[in-house]
């Protein structure tokens, strides 16, 4: 590293004078060196206040599939626009409710091979993936001591109805460890009744910690820093603990560009939400009206 100065001596002199002046100003701004950074943290926020954020940005939690794939190789503004328009058209036909990983859902689909031509499945959502019209979610349940997982496409027109039975979140983003957990953690009755949350209340977080069955496991759960598992240490050997330490990547949370390449920046998001906000809001309002009407009539459940 070197300072670059390719100028005539007079300019050099002038610049030096200017630097000295600027340096003095910096020094006046700088606090004493003895003051360490911890003190700065404890200070109350004086001049610097957090920036105003657009409230529509909160929609990203409810409708994550409206955000495109951040990989620039797949980005195209027109395709994304057409895709979002198609998604809104489909949402106007079927009520796709707000749900998260950990929510218990009942999904009814049209199935030409089923009795009565419809099929209903109840289960806990263990994964939400994909963006745009490819968005998918996976439901898991244990039926007759047999674990069953069904992956549904969110915008599949054969879906007749998606009903939220219990709206809640879990501690982790993906619940694949339920496959290795004791079966009672993902056993739900098929004729489960929907639990209605009081209006305006935040989505509750279920802090239950599941117990895993003894090994062998499908994945190395001990390396994934899971919060929703209680007895992971019981099943580990010394070898696994050593390898877990070796595989840790503590520097990854400081890799700012890695985070950046995984996300859609605020400026792009505000544009997207500005485009779809009104229609989504209207759908929400109409759904609320519908749910108020529905409280008087008991919903019939169809069994496949």
């Amino acid at each position: 590293m070197s300072l670059v100065m390719r100028k005539s001596p007079i300019e050099y002199f002038n610049a030096a004078k200017w630097i000295i002046r600027r340096e003095c100003r910096y020094l006046s701004n700088l606090p004493e060196v003895a003051e360490n950074s911890e003190v700065v943290e404890d200070k109350p926020p004086k001049g610097r206040k957090p920036r105003f954020l657009n409230p529509t940005l909160q929609y990203r939690h409810v409708y994550p599939e409206f955000l495109p794939d951040p990989n620039p190789k797949f980005r195209n503004s027109l395709r994304e626009k057409l895709e979002r328009a198609d998604m809104l058209k489909r949402r106007s036909q079927v009520d796709i409710p707000e749900f998260y990983v950990g929510t218990i859902l009942a999904v009814t689909i049209a199935d030409p091979h089923a009795q009565g031509k419809t099929n209903k499945f109840v289960g806990i959502c263990i994964e939400r993936k994909g963006c745009g019209l490819r968005a998918e979610f996976t439901l898991r349940n244990v039926i007759d001591h047999q674990g069953i997982e069904v992956r549904y496409e969110l915008y599949d027109p054969t879906i007749q109805n998606i009903q939220v039975l219990r709206l809640e979140k879990r501690l982790d983003d993906k619940l694949f460890y339920l496959r290795d957990a004791l079966p009672e953690y993902c056993t739900f009755p098929i004729d489960m009744d929907p639990e209605i949350l009081p209006e305006g209340s935040p989505v509750p977080v279920n802090t239950v910690q599941v117990k895993l069955k003894p090994r062998p496991w499908l994945e190395r759960w001990e390396r994934q820093e899971l919060k929703g598992v209680s007895n992971i240490e019981e099943h580990l050997k010394e070898k696994d603990r050593v390898r877990r330490e070796l595989r840790k990547t503590p520097w990854e949370k400081f890799d700012l560009m890695k985070d950046y390449r995984k996300t859609i920046p605020i400026e792009d998001q505000t544009e997207i939400w500005g485009e779809v906000y009104n229609q989504l809001q209207q759908m929400r309002v109409s759904r609320k009206k519908m749910s108020k009407q529905r409280t008087f009539t008991a919903p019939k459940t169809q069994l496949g």
């Binding site: 300072l3 300019e11 700088l30 360490n36 943290e41 957090p50 954020l53 700012l256 995984k262 605020i266």
Partner: protein, 189 residues
């Protein structure tokens, strides 16, 4: 097609970001790569203008921009941001500089925070491409001496004349348009 990460909110960088990162070979792997870049980012914040190889400069520039934009958006009372600043700035007095000098400097800017120039390299030599990376608003004299606003350059003189002619013909057309409808209207009335 993967879902975007929604746990974090970042503001958009004003520089061009390549789709993937550079490897910047290092025996320590990705950790060593970040260690390399930490030194460069610290140097950039400290000296405000440095000369280095192109690949490393371009990679470090992205990290420096991200660091400053994080500092601007969260301020110095946000613990994760402070941890990030602590990681990236090896000399701890630079943390103060970041939050107290650079953040006010770039708070209201609408362009990138850094600037990169191609550095001259020896002629007839197989030298690695060098660049100069600097923070905007630095106290050093400008690196470029060009005067884009020189009105007396030949091309500007010629363009001025062309502009004059173009405007004249345009006004003449407009005047003609204004006059013709009146003529057509008059016979009607």
């Amino acid at each position: 097609m993967n879902q975007a990460d929604i746990t974090k909110l970042v503001s958009k960088l004003r520089i061009k970001v390549p789709p993937t990162h550079r490897r910047l070979r290092n025996p320590l792997g990705p950790e060593g790569r970040l260690n390399k870049l930490r030194k460069t980012v610290t140097g950039l914040i400290k000296y405000e203008r440095i000369e280095l190889n192109y690949n490393r400069a371009d990679e470090a520039r992205q990290y420096a921009e991200r660091l400053i934009s994080e500092a601007i958006s969260h301020g110095d009372c946000h613990k994760p941001t402070m941890e990030i600043a602590d990681f990236w700035l090896l000399e701890k007095e630079l943390v103060h500089k970041l939050f107290k000098v650079l953040v006010p400097r770039f708070e209201n800017s609408s362009s990138a925070f850094t600037k990169m120039y191609k550095a001259p390299k020896p002629a007839y030599a197989r030298a690695i491409e060098k660049t100069i990376l600097e923070l905007k608003g630095n106290p050093y004299p400008s690196l470029t001496t060009r005067q884009p606003n020189n009105k007396l350059l030949l091309q500007n003189v010629l363009l001025d004349a062309a502009k004059y002619d173009y405007r004249q013909t345009k006004y003449a057309e407009i005047a003609e348009k204004m006059s013709t409808p009146e003529e057509t209207k008059n016979p009607d009335s």
